[in-house]
């Protein structure tokens, strides 16, 4: 066996053993039911969870949050023209000169409670970057993040907290490793790079109502031919493989059996069922039809809510979750011509806002509001200037949202871009390139460091997880947490 395998197995054992230690007790009846008492659960005293919601395709942050003072609104409307969200329709954010896209009105409560914070013009950076530096840099200068404006590369930079898209591991995964969390990143949205470590994939769980287990091979399957079949499967997956990816494959399979034994009952629970939490169900009520959560992100965040509430089963006092939505690559039909409040982007933001609001309400209801912080990520922002197909193209810096009881909300963070095509924030200068692609003024690293600092990472751990953070001097974190 090679060293890499030994290391991997050691890491895996730690994860599985810790997790499995109280398996029998954890699955006892009423674990979730106890939370219905609506008191802050005992574990909340030292429990924290981060929930990343990745908006694949590049969310148009320029229409998600819009300046509402006359001067800047007019600048905005002047460039956005038909794509502009009418000022009167914006969901007002009291105390600041911005409003949310009206499809996200459900987040108004969190704003009023001071638990929602927009963060402006965030994006991948290797170091602080001025327009002059950007313009002077050669195409492959290390001061520029790699392959700007490319979906796959910019997703990787956001997910890995890096300026190099060859980076293999995610910042969520590395943080889990650095903080020795019991579980790896738990993803309810597939095998995203955010949760990868050098040794592990994120733990991917299916949605509510799904069976997370192998039929006929679960603990309850005790008929002799089933046991014989399981013994044979175990023997097959215990074999060292001739190819390296085969060893990863068998390790993932062994983990899958162990994790499904622990989590399958919790994963399967749907609203209203015996093991369901009345608090969570009430918070998601507007998204539940016929006993099922209706939207994709709603299902994912309902699952995360159960996993937070079911901490006795899930284990660990620090947990990073990953959820996602797709479809944000609104090159065309971002709006319906003549009706800027309709169209693809409004539909997407409604799903996002409704699901975030329900999840926030669930955490508050569980008494875990200040223990759980949600935040958005996305490939990139979109061009400030629309294209000819009622859409927008790929850009760079973008607006993001952070939500939770610990968030110092009711205020905005970062610096809103100067809404001038060809201005100080725009990468463009010549007439052909005046689309408004903002050079970020806050780095993903600073955004992530703020989140991870709250989560419990020391300065040393932050430097290890986010290797470019040192390039930002003393401006390591923002103040939103």
């Amino acid at each position: 066996m090679k060293t890499e395998d030994l290391v991997m197995n050691a890491a895996r054992r730690r994860w599985l053993l810790r997790g499995g230690a109280t398996l029998a007790g954890a699955l006892g009846a009423g674990t979730l039911g106890n939370l219905l008492l609506n008191a802050t659960p005992a574990y909340a005293a030292d429990y924290k969870a981060l929930v990343c919601i990745f908006l694949y395709g590049g969310n148009d942050g320029m229409n998600m949050i819009v300046p509402s003072d006359d001067a800047r609104y007019n600048q905005y409307a002047g460039v956005r023209t038909g794509l502009a969200i009418p000022k009167a329709s914006l969901t007002p954010l009291g105390g600041v000169s911005y409003g949310l896209h009206p499809a996200m009105a459900a987040l108004g409560t969190a704003w009023t409670n001071g638990h929602l914070a927009p963060v402006f013009n965030v994006g991948p950076l290797a170091q602080p970057l001025t327009k002059a530096q950007y313009r002077a840099a050669t195409a492959n200068s290390p001061i520029l993040p790699s392959s700007l404006f490319s979906h796959s590369d910019q997703q990787i930079l956001w997910e890995t907290g890096s300026s190099d898209s060859l980076t293999r591991t995610g910042w969520g995964g590395r943080a889990s490793e650095a903080l020795a969390t019991v579980n790896p990143v738990i993803s309810v949205a597939g095998t995203a790079r955010f949760g990868l470590t050098a040794l592990q994939t994120p733990l991917v769980l299916p949605g509510p109502g799904s069976t997370f287990g192998a039929y006929g091979l679960q603990a309850s399957d005790t008929w002799a031919p089933q046991l014989a079949r399981k013994a044979a499967i175990d023997a097959l997956y215990a074999q060292s493989q001739d190819v390296a990816i085969g060893d990863t494959y068998t390790a993932m399979q062994r983990d899958a059996f162990a994790m499904s034994a622990r989590l399958s009952a919790l994963v399967k629970t749907q609203p209203g069922e015996a093991g369901a939490s009345a608090v969570i169900d009430a918070a998601f009520a507007s998204l539940i039809v016929g006993g099922k959560v209706t939207t994709g992100l709603g299902q994912q965040l309902y699952q995360v809510a159960k996993l937070v509430a079911g901490n006795a089963t899930v284990q660990g006092n620090r947990q990073i979750f990953f959820a996602s939505m797709g479809g944000f690559d609104t090159h065309g039909n971002q709006i319906v011509t003549g009706s800027p409040l309709e169209g693809d982007h409004a539909r997407l933001l409604k799903e996002l806002g409704d699901a975030l609001a329900a999840f926030y309400a669930a955490m508050q209801g569980l008494g875990l509001g200040s223990a759980v912080t949600s935040f958005t990520q996305s490939d990139f922002g979109r061009t400030f200037a629309p294209n000819n197909s009622t859409g927008t193209d790929h850009a760079w810096g973008n607006q993001h949202l952070v939500l939770g009881g610990a968030v110092k909300g009711g205020a905005t963070y970062g610096t809103y871009p100067d809404l001038v095509l060809g201005g100080n924030n725009d990468v463009g200068q010549d007439t052909w390139e005046l689309q408004g692609r903002w050079i970020p003024t806050t780095a993903v690293d600073q955004y992530a460091a703020t989140l991870l600092g709250w989560f419990g990472a020391s300065d040393g751990q932050l430097d290890a997880v986010l290797p470019n953070l040192k390039n930002f001097g003393s401006a390591r974190k923002l103040a939103f947490l």
């Binding site: 890499e4 991997m8 195409a139 790699s146 392959s147 404006f149 490319s150 979906h151 796959s152 590369d153 060859l166 293999r168 591991t169 597939g190 095998t191 040794l199 994939t201 733990l203 991917v204 769980l205 299916p206 997370f212 192998a214 039929y215 006929g216 091979l217 002799a224 031919p225 079949r229 044979a232 499967i233 023997a235 097959l236 997956y237 074999q239 001739d242 190819v243 085969g246 060893d247 990863t248 494959y249 068998t250 993932m252 983990d255 899958a256 994790m259 499904s260 797709g326 479809g327 690559d329 090159h331 200037a385 294209n387 000819n388 197909s389 859409g391 193209d393 790929h394 990468v427 052909w432």
Partner: protein, 518 residues
């Protein structure tokens, strides 16, 4: 057996016999001569010609959207062809191409248009990659998907231009001929102004004539959405300025849309990245996730020369030569056995078909889309975006290697792979659906193997030879035989032999030895 896994949708006992009798090179040549698979199911273009009131599907029954707008009818064709049509290699290459030049049914709809698109890929599987790209660039399905249809010079949409460069032809980083990054780092292949130049050069195309809506067609001078043919140029929307493209190609001022498109294709075909970029992905789809640099070089060389042994026309971009180079290479034929870097995690669709073909099964594909396709994140024709189901460079944890299929593999997927086997073997698969034309359900036929079931070891070894090309390793082999042997005339007088086949097939196809191709 290895070739059958690389070049078909899975070995059968008779296929392995055929390849062994014919010889590998002759078998490949014979395969390339076949051209029998076609997408034929689903309805026509009337869905984009409706000028009545209400919705097109009003009053047309519950399967209207499925049969007129979705790709489901094509999924039926895909799996039927994969299981029964003899032109297996053509289908595998087309399947690889459809994962490179990706469109999806999430963002655009119109069954008849997808039918044309994928039939083009089948037709051109052993043609020239330039022709593949040309058909893709002129496809109204692609035009709708990536906004190159009705693209106006006034504020061109960059979507298609960017992905044409990044995904369909040359990639974002300069490559050596062996597919590795120049100087070991990413040197950008193009800048944003190049992307815009391509976007401008490809403005001024609209849908073919034939579409209609109750509200007329917009914008003025452009045709309504319609997928029944190639896109056509509209001069007034086409950019007339000089545009500098890659490879030293310039579109002169005043060039019309059609010749400008030829210049776009010229500039891409001339780019040194294309051969290793496309060649390496073909290797990854057909053979292994981590080909050696020398292997990529040999395949890229065949792409560039258009010739490999007796295969190909000698024109750059020849896919017959490229595919032959992929499959006949010593590395594909087994000289890396024993290398830690070899192997490929079987794609879910390959597993679906592989088990069905080996076990003399049949499928109309109906259960392999929304059910098993979604469960394993490879629902044919519905990849989440133009970036396919997974990236070609997805890192495999615990190694320094990549594994594209690992991009959709997880603890949950690991269990679902076994559940698919439980579905086929223990639950009896699916019976034919009344709503699917000529439905056959999804079922295996174990009768051919029941004849060996009295001898558990013989049964397990026969299935192992078919699925793996060799016996299982001794320790797990014995456990498998033990599990199979539980079934006897005493435990189930009626079905013990069939139950033995089910147990043996579950374990052999559920083994890591099968799931990870060597």
């Amino acid at each position: 057996m290895r070739l059958a896994d690389q070049a078909t949708f899975g070995p059968t006992e008779s296929l392995v016999t055929t390849i062994q009798a014919q010889g590998i090179s002759a078998w490949i040549a014979a395969q390339m001569a076949l051209n029998s698979s076609r997408y034929t199911s689903g309805n026509g273009g009337e869905v984009h010609q409706y000028t009545g009131s209400g919705d097109f599907c009003d009053g047309k029954g519950t399967t209207c959207w499925r049969d007129w707008s979705s790709t489901e009818p094509l999924v039926w064709d895909f799996y039927r062809n994969a299981l029964t049509q003899p032109d297996q290699l053509r289908q595998r290459v087309a399947f690889a191409l459809q994962q490179i030049v990706v469109v999806n049914n999430l963002e655009v709809s119109g069954t008849y248009g997808f039918r044309l698109y994928y039939n083009n890929l089948i037709d051109n599987a052993f043609g020239n990659y330039r022709q593949v790209l040309k058909k893709v660039a002129l496809s109204p399905v692609m035009g709708d998907f990536l906004n190159s249809a009705n693209n106006d010079k006034a504020a061109p949409n960059e979507n298609f231009a960017r992905e044409l460069l990044q995904l369909f032809s040359i990639g974002t980083c300069e490559l050596n001929p062996d597919g590795s990054l120049k100087a070991g780092a990413c040197t950008a292949t193009y800048s944003n102004d190049i992307v815009r130049s391509y976007a401008y050069a490809m403005t001024g195309w609209t849908y073919p004539a034939g579409g209609a809506t109750p509200w007329g067609c917009w914008p003025a001078g452009m045709n309504c959405r319609y997928y029944g043919g190639d896109m056509i140029p509209v001069a007034s929307y086409h950019d007339a300025n000089e545009r500098k493209l890659l490879s030293g190609v310039t579109v002169a001022a005043g060039t019309a849309a059609a010749p400008a498109m030829e210049s776009v294709l010229d500039s891409l075909m001339a780019h040194p990245n294309m051969a290793p970029f496309i060649g390496k992905q073909l290797i990854q789809h057909l053979v292994g996730s981590n080909p050696s640099a020398a292997y990529v070089t040999r395949v890229a060389s065949a792409f560039n020369s258009g010739k490999f042994q007796s295969f190909g026309t000698g024109v750059k971009g020849d896919l017959a030569a490229t595919v032959a180079a992929v499959l006949l290479d010593a590395e594909a034929r087994g000289d890396t056995l024993g290398s830690r870097n070899a192997g490929k995690l079987r794609e879910p669709a390959q597993m679906f078909t592989g088990v069905l073909r080996a076990l003399n099964g049949q499928s109309d594909g109906d259960a392999l889309s929304w059910w098993w396709g979604d469960a394993l994140r490879q629902h044919i024709f519905r990849p989440p975006s133009v970036f396919n189901y997974y990236p070609p460079d997805y890192p495999v944890p615990g190694t320094s290697l990549v594994g594209p299929t690992f991009g959709i593999h997880s603890a949950n997927a690991a269990l679902e792979r076994l559940n698919y086997l439980a579905y086929l073997l223990d639950w009896g698969g699916s019976t034919p659906s009344a709503s699917v034309p000529s439905a056959v359900g999804t079922q295996v036929d174990l009768s051919a193997f029941v004849t060996d079931a009295a001898d558990a070891a013989k049964l397990v070894d026969r299935l192992s030879l078919l699925a793996l090309g060799q016996a299982l390793p001794a320790t797990p082999r014995q456990k498998v035989i033990d599990a199979v042997s539980w079934w006897t005339a005493k435990t189930d007088a009626t079905n013990w032999k069939t139950n033995r086949v089910k147990a043996a097939a579950y374990l052999v196809f559920g083994s890591p030895n099968y799931q990870v191709l060597r």
